[in-house]
Symmetry: C2
Subunit: 609 residues, 2 copies
C-alpha cells in the first residue's frame, strides 16, 4: 500500500502531460494473483490465469445464489403454504442489503484507491443505456411508492412487511442507479476478486428480482379478482379462478388515491422488470472489464456525431408510422381496458402490425444486401461491448420468437381460419421473420468499419488520419504512427521552426504547398469515390432511421400497457391462465428490452453508415 | 469440381510421404465464401467472416426448430386435447427423417469428396465418448424394442403409431451412432454451410427428443397407476391422482413377456435421455470443427498411455467404496421397489452418500492444493474440445446443484430436525460442495501441461522431445524443431552412415559416447527433480484414481434405477407430483451425464499427472 503511494507521487508529476498518448507506467499496473497459479513463468500468463480463476469463482458464487433464489421462488409458486411471499422477500432483502454494502464500499473505498481506475472502456455504458437506467430507475421508484401507498391504505388486512420491503427496494434501486451512472465505464485495477464477487452478487440479485417479478402475479391477481367480482354478477362464474382466497376480502375502498395507486402499479409494473434486465447487462460489462488493460492506441477514439443530413424518406415514413401507431395505441388502450374488449380493436391492432412488420423486414433485408455490396473493410478487433451487444440482441429476440412459436402452435391447433386467429397467426410468423432479419442487419452493420472516418481523413488531415489508424490492428498501427511522426509535423513544432529560421521555413513552405495540392488531389478522388458510394450510404441511413422510429413505436406500445397477447384470451384459454402468464411475462419484457436495444444498435449503424 | 480433381492428382503423388510433417498444399484448402462478405481484402479474413456468418445462420435454424418443438411439447403438456402425443411424435419423426437424409448424404456424398476431410481433430471424440455413444445406442434400441413389444401386446387399446414411431426411432439411433463412431473427429472442408445446417438440425432433434423424454411421463404414469390400483384397495384413495383416464382401462395382462417389456422400459428409460445428451455434445464439437484447419505442428500429438503404476491407496479405497456401494445399491433396489419402501433403506442409502461425499470433496481440495504447489506450466493453447469439456462439466453439474437447492428449500420448510430429513439435507449440501470442488480440480488439472512427457524426454530422447515441443506455442516450436534437425540424427540416417564410411563412423561413435554421458547427466538431474516431485504426482494419481472409482459408482447407482429423490416422497409431496417429476427428470440425467463426464476428465488428469 505504502509502496503504491510512493510510486504515485514519483510518476504523477510528469505523467499527466503524456497520459493520453503514452502507455501507463508499469509501476501502476496491479497484476492479478491467485494462489492456484503461483508458479507461472511470466507475469502476464499468471495474470491471465488469475483472471480466469477469479471469473470462475465469482461465477460460481452467482450460480449458487441464483439457484437458491430459484428454489425459493419455485417453492412459493408450487407450495403457497410452506414458503410465503414474505419469506422470499426476506431473502431478497438480505441480498439487497449485502449488495448495498458492497456498492457503498466500492464508491467510498475501492474506486478512491490510487490507480484503481486507470482505464475506462469507451464502448461500455453509452449514454442511451445509462439514460434508460435512470428512466427505469425513476419508474421503479414510483412503482414502489405506489406499492407502499396501496399497502398503507389497506393496512388493516396487509402485513407491515409490505411497507418495509418496498422501502429497502427504493434504497437499492437508487443506489444502484447512481453507481451505474458514474462507474459503468470503469476497468477496475485493484481488489479484482472482491470486485468480481460484488458485481456477480448484484447481478444475481437483479436476476432474482426479475424472476420474481415475472412469476409473481399476486397483485395482478388481486386487482383482477376485484374486476371479476363485478363480471360474475352479470355472467355467472368466471372461466378460470385462481386460488387467492386470503386477498378477496381485502378490496380497495372507492377513494381516488387508492385507484391511482392501483392503476399506477399496473402501468409501471413492466418497467421494474426492464430495470433489472438493463442493470444486469451493464453490470455484466463491468464484470468483464475488471482487470482489463486497454491499449492506449484505442483511446483517441473520436466518435462520429449524430447528424440528420441527407435522409428524407426514412424519417418521413418513420414519422407516419409513429403517428399511426400512437393513434392505434390510444384507441386500443381506450377500448381494451374496458371489461369487455371488442373484437374489432384486436383486428385493428394486429392489422397495423401486419402492415408494418413486412416493411421493416424488407428494409432490413435491403440494408443487409447493401452492406454486402459495399466495399468496406470489416472491423475484426476484439470488442467485449460489441460481443455483448450481439449476444443481448440474439438473447432478447428469443423472448418474442419463443412467444410467437407458442402462439402459432396454439392458433393452428384451435382454428386458424377464423379472422382474428389468422391475423394473430400471420402476426406471429412476421414477428419471427422481422426479428431475425433485423438482427442480421444490425450485427452486420456493427462489424463494418466506420466509413465516415475514412472519408473525412482526406479533408481534415491529421486528426482524421489518427481516427483511421485507430481502427487498424495494433501492429500496423504502431508502424503508421511512427511514419506519421517522421513525415508530418505538429502545428506547435511548425511555429517554433518559423521563429528559428525564416528562410528555411519559406523553402519548406513551397514544398508544403505542393503537398497541399497533392492532398487536394487525394481528397478529390475521395470525394469521387464518396459520390459513387453515396447512394448506398444514403440508403443505409434512410433504412436505419426508419427502423429506429419503427422500433421506438414498437417499444412504446407494449411498455405503456398494450398486451394483446394476454388480453385477446385465445392463448390464455389454450394453455391455461398460469402457464400463459409465465410465458408472456418472460417474453414481453425481453421483447421490450429487445426493441430498446435495437434502437441503440440501429443508431450506431446509422452513425457509422 | 473438375479443378479440384486435377489438383488432387497433381499433388497426391508426392504429398502422401510428407503428409504428417508438412502443411497441406494450399490448392487443397477450400476457403469459405459468403455473399455478405465478398469485398474483404484478405482471403483469410473473408474466410473467418464467412465462418461466423455460417455459424450464425445454422444456429438460427436450430433455434427455430427448437422453439417450434418446445411450443409443441408444452402445448401437449398443458392442453392434452388440442395437441396429442401422437402429433408431437409426427413432428419429431419428420425431423428424424430429415436428419437421416442428411446423415446418409454426408456418409455417401460429402465425406467421399476429394479433400473433404484434410484434418482430424485429435481431441474430439475420444474413445470413452464414442464408447458411451455405442453403449447408450444399444440400450436405447432395446428401450424402443420394449416399447414396440409392449404396444404390440396391448394393440387392442393402443394406436398403430406406437409401433411405427419407435421403428423410425431405432433407425435414427443406429444411423446416428454409426455416423458419430466414424466421423466424430472430422474437420470437414467442403460444403461448409450445408454441413453446419445438417449438424444443427441433428442437434436440435436430439435436444427435442431429450426434452420430450424429460417431460413426457405417460408410460410411467400408466405403470404407476396400475401399481396404485393395488394400493388403493388397501389404503383408500391415492394422495395425488393425475388425469390419465384413457389409459387406466388398458392394463398389462399377467404374462411374463409383458412384465419384461414393462420392467425393461422403466429400467432403460434414463439411457435414452443420456444418449441424446451425449450425441448433442459430440455433434456440437463437430459443428465447431467445420472448416477448421489444424496447424500440422499439433498432429504428432503422442498421447501418454494409461499405466497403473505407483498408485496403491486410490484404487484400494476406491474399490472398497465401489463394493460397499454395490451392496447398498442391491439392498436399496430390493427394498425400495416394493410397494411400501421402508424408512431404513433410505437412511442407509443417504448415510452411504454422507460418508462418501466429504471424502471426495477433501480429496478434490487436496488435489487442487497440490496443483497449486506444483511448478508446472499452464497449457494456454486454444483447444475447442477442452473448452467444451469445461462448459459441459459446469453445465452438467447445474442439474445436481439445482436439484439439491430445491431439496434444501423443501426440507428446511418442512421439518429439518427429523432423522431422514436431516440426512437428505446434509446430502444435498454435500452434493453441491462435492460438485464444485471436483469441477475446480478437474478444470485446473486439464489446464496443466503434461509433466510425464517432459520427464520421459530425458530418458527416451527424440520422441519425448517431440512430445514436449508439441505443447509449446507454434513460433518457438518451429525454432526448436529446426534446431533438432541440426543437432540430432534419426536412427535410419545413422545406419546409412555406418555402411558408407566405417572409420568416420567410429570417430563419430566416440563423440556419441560423450554425448551419451551428457544425456545420462541430464537424465540423472531429471530423475532427481522427478523424485523431488514424485510425492506430488503420486498423490495426484491416487486422488484422481480414487475419484474415478467413486464417480463410477455414483454413476451406476442412478443409472440402474436408484432414484431416492423421487421415491422418498418428501419433495414430491412438497412441490406436487408434476413439478417434482420435471425437476428430477431435468436434474437426474444431467447428474448421470456429469458423473460420466467427470470420469473422462479425471482419467485425463490421472494420465497427465
Amino acid at each position: 500500500m505504502s509502496g503504491n503511494k510512493v510510486s504515485r507521487k514519483k510518476s504523477c508529476n510528469h505523467c499527466k502531460s503524456r497520459a493520453a498518448a503514452a502507455p501507463a507506467d508499469t509501476s501502476q499496473i496491479h497484476y492479478e494473483k491467485f494462489w492456484l497459479f503461483r508458479h507461472c513463468s511470466s507475469v502476464q500468463q499468471r495474470d491471465r490465469q488469475a483472471q480466469k480463476a477469479g471469473q470462475l469463482f465469482s461465477g460460481l458464487l452467482a450460480m449458487n445464489v441464483v439457484f437458491l433464489g430459484c428454489a425459493f421462488i419455485s417453492s412459493m409458486i408450487f407450495n403457497h403454504v410452506a414458503i410465503t411471499l414474505a419469506e422470499v422477500w426476506i431473502l431478497l432483502s438480505i441480498l439487497k442489503v449485502l449488495c448495498l454494502c458492497w456498492i457503498i464500499y466500492y464508491l467510498l473505498g475501492i474506486s478512491q484507491q490510487p490507480h484503481a481506475v486507470l482505464h475506462r472502456d469507451s464502448h461500455a455504458g453509452p449514454i442511451w443505456i445509462r439514460g434508460s437506467v435512470l428512466l427505469f430507475c425513476t419508474f421503479s421508484v414510483l412503482l414502489n411508492v405506489c406499492h407502499i401507498g396501496y399497502s398503507t391504505i389497506l393496512i388493516q388486512c396487509k402485513s407491515k412487511v409490505e411497507i418495509v420491503f418496498p422501502s429497502i427496494g427504493i434504497l437499492f434501486i437508487c443506489t444502484q442507479a447512481f453507481f451505474l451512472w458514474h462507474h459503468s465505464k470503469d476497468c477496475i485495477q485493484v481488489q479484482h476478486n472482491f470486485t468480481r464477487c460484488g458485481l456477480m452478487l448484484t447481478i444475481a440479485t437483479n436476476l432474482l428480482l426479475w424472476l420474481l417479478a415475472v412469476t409473481n402475479d399476486t397483485i395482478h391477481m388481486e386487482i383482477d379478482s376485484q374486476l371479476r367480482e363485478v363480471d360474475e354478477r352479470f355472467a355467472g362464474k368466471a372461466p378460470f379462478s385462481h386460488p387467492c382466497n386470503e386477498t378477496t376480502s381485502c378490496t380497495c375502498p372507492n377513494t381516488t388515491i387508492c385507484k391511482v395507486f392501483q392503476k399506477g402499479y399496473i402501468l409501471l409494473y413492466p418497467f421494474n422488470t426492464e430495470y433489472c434486465l438493463v442493470c444486469c447487462s451493464v453490470l455484466y460489462v463491468m464484470w468483464k472489464n475488471v482487470g482489463r488493460r486497454i491499449s492506449h492506441h484505442h483511446v483517441p477514439h473520436t466518435k462520429p456525431k449524430f447528424k440528420l443530413q441527407g435522409v428524407v424518406f426514412g424519417p418521413l415514413l418513420g414519422a407516419i408510422t409513429v403517428i399511426i401507431g400512437i393513434c392505434v395505441f390510444m384507441m386500443y388502450q381506450i377500448q381494451a381496458t374496458g371489461s369487455f374488449p371488442s373484437h374489432q380493436v384486436f383486428v385493428m391492432y394486429y392489422s397495423y402490425y401486419i402492415v408494418l412488420l413486412p416493411l421493416m423486414s424488407v428494409a432490413a433485408v435491403i440494408g443487409t444486401i447493401i452492406h454486402a455490396l459495399e466495399k468496406k473493410e470489416l472491423d475484426t478487433l476484439k470488442n467485449p461491448t460489441r460481443s455483448l451487444d450481439v449476444i443481448l440482441l440474439m438473447g432478447a429476440a428469443l423472448g418474442q420468437i419463443g412467444m410467437s412459436y407458442f402462439s402459432i402452435v396454439a392458433l393452428v391447433a384451435t382454428d386458424p381460419m377464423e379472422l382474428l386467429n389468422s391475423l394473430i397467426l400471420s402476426y406471429s410468423v412476421l414477428i419471427i421473420f422481422q426479428n431475425i432479419t433485423q438482427n442480421v442487419f444490425i450485427i452486420d452493420g456493427l462489424h463494418r468499419q466506420r466509413f465516415l472516418a475514412a472519408t473525412e481523413a482526406g479533408h481534415t488531415g491529421h486528426t482524421g488520419q489518427q481516427a483511421v489508424t485507430s481502427e487498424l490492428p495494433s501492429e500496423e498501427e504502431t508502424m503508421t504512427s511512427n511514419k506519421q511522426e517522421d513525415t508530418q509535423m505538429s502545428p506547435g513544432k511548425e511555429e517554433e521552426m518559423k521563429e528559428e529560421n525564416p528562410e528555411a521555413y519559406d523553402q519548406r513552405r513551397v514544398s508544403m504547398l505542393e503537398l497541399g495540392q497533392e492532398i487536394r488531389k487525394v481528397s478529390l478522388s475521395y470525394i469521387h469515390s464518396y459520390s459513387n458510394l453515396s447512394w448506398k450510404r444514403r440508403a443505409l441511413r434512410e433504412i436505419s432511421f426508419f427502423l429506429v422510429l419503427c422500433n421506438i413505436i414498437l417499444w412504446v406500445m407494449p411498455t405503456f400497457g398494450a398486451h394483446p397477447a394476454f388480453e385477446n384470451g385465445l392463448e390464455k384459454s389454450f394453455y391455461g391462465y398460469s402457464t400463459w402468464f409465465v410465458i408472456v411475462n418472460f417474453g414481453l419484457p425481453l421483447g421490450v428490452f429487445y426493441r430498446m436495444h435495437s434502437v441503440g444498435g440501429l443508431l450506431e449503424v446509422y452513425v457509422t453508415a
